[in-house]
């Protein structure tokens, strides 16, 4: 069975500091991994994805994520947080298949304080 865990319900960081939002996954075979961000009363916005190749992937708004196969992790990072980064972040995994359905974690609220 596929699953995603986001161990932190909330992450608090000061503006200008680096941030990390953690994600671990469980899936048979090679995973496709995604990060989405959700602002209040809006749908999910795609940030970045890992498919294959370089373990460090770069995405929108200065975010990046590192794929670690041995630790089955895909942590989201940003070198310098902005107040506007405050939102709800979801990690998702997908096993190659014809359906392509995403399995989401429960989400992590990022709070960036001035």
């Amino acid at each position: 069975a596929q699953s995603v865990a986001q161990p932190e319900d909330q992450v608090n960081v000061a503006e200008g500091n680096p941030l990390t939002v953690k994600c671990t996954y469980s899936v048979s075979g090679n995973p496709y991994l995604f990060w989405y961000v959700q602002y209040p009363n809006r749908g999910l916005q795609f940030l970045l994805k890992y498919i294959t190749g370089d373990n460090l992937v770069k995405g929108s708004y200065g975010f990046e994520a590192e794929f670690n196969k041995s630790q089955t992790s895909f942590h989201l990072k940003k070198p310098s947080a902005l107040v506007s980064d405050s939102a709800l972040y979801f990690c998702a995994v997908r096993r190659w298949s014809n359906t392509g359905k995403l399995i989401f974690g429960q989400g992590t609220t990022l709070q960036v304080k001035p």
């Binding site: 749908g43 795609f46 998702a92 298949s97 392509g100 989400g107």
Partner: protein, 115 residues
């Protein structure tokens, strides 16, 4: 349109009523997904269409839930005899490929409240 649109954005139904939720995917996207997001939770998969064919409906919670995409574009999620546990945000997403690794683009969702 520029993105995925959903209507209505908000729906209040009395228990036992039928509701229909509409999704307009990005033009040309062959894949369409429905997800259910309960309060404080991540989205959960309901069903998947490739063009007009419903290839996966394993996530539909009961036979009260029904989805269609008759012409391979607009999709409707119908819930019959709504129950309080159906209260959630229903998200629609589309993608340009049949499978593979392309990302899904999400609409703003329909918030359903069942009284």
């Amino acid at each position: 349109g520029a993105g995925v649109s959903q209507s209505p954005r908000y729906k209040v139904a009395k228990r036992g009523q039928d509701v229909a939720l509409r999704c307009d995917p990005i033009s040309g996207h062959v894949s369409l997904f429905w997800y259910q997001q309960a309060l404080g939770q991540g989205p959960e998969f309901l069903t998947y269409f490739q063009n007009e064919a419903q290839l996966d409906k394993s996530g539909l919670p009961s036979d009260r839930f029904f989805a269609e995409r008759p012409e391979g574009s607009v999709s409707t999620l119908k819930i019959q005899r709504t129950q309080q546990e159906d209260s959630a945000v229903y998200l629609c997403a589309s993608s340009s490929a049949r499978g593979g690794a392309v990302e899904q683009f999400f609409g703003p969702g329909t918030r359903l409240t069942v009284l």
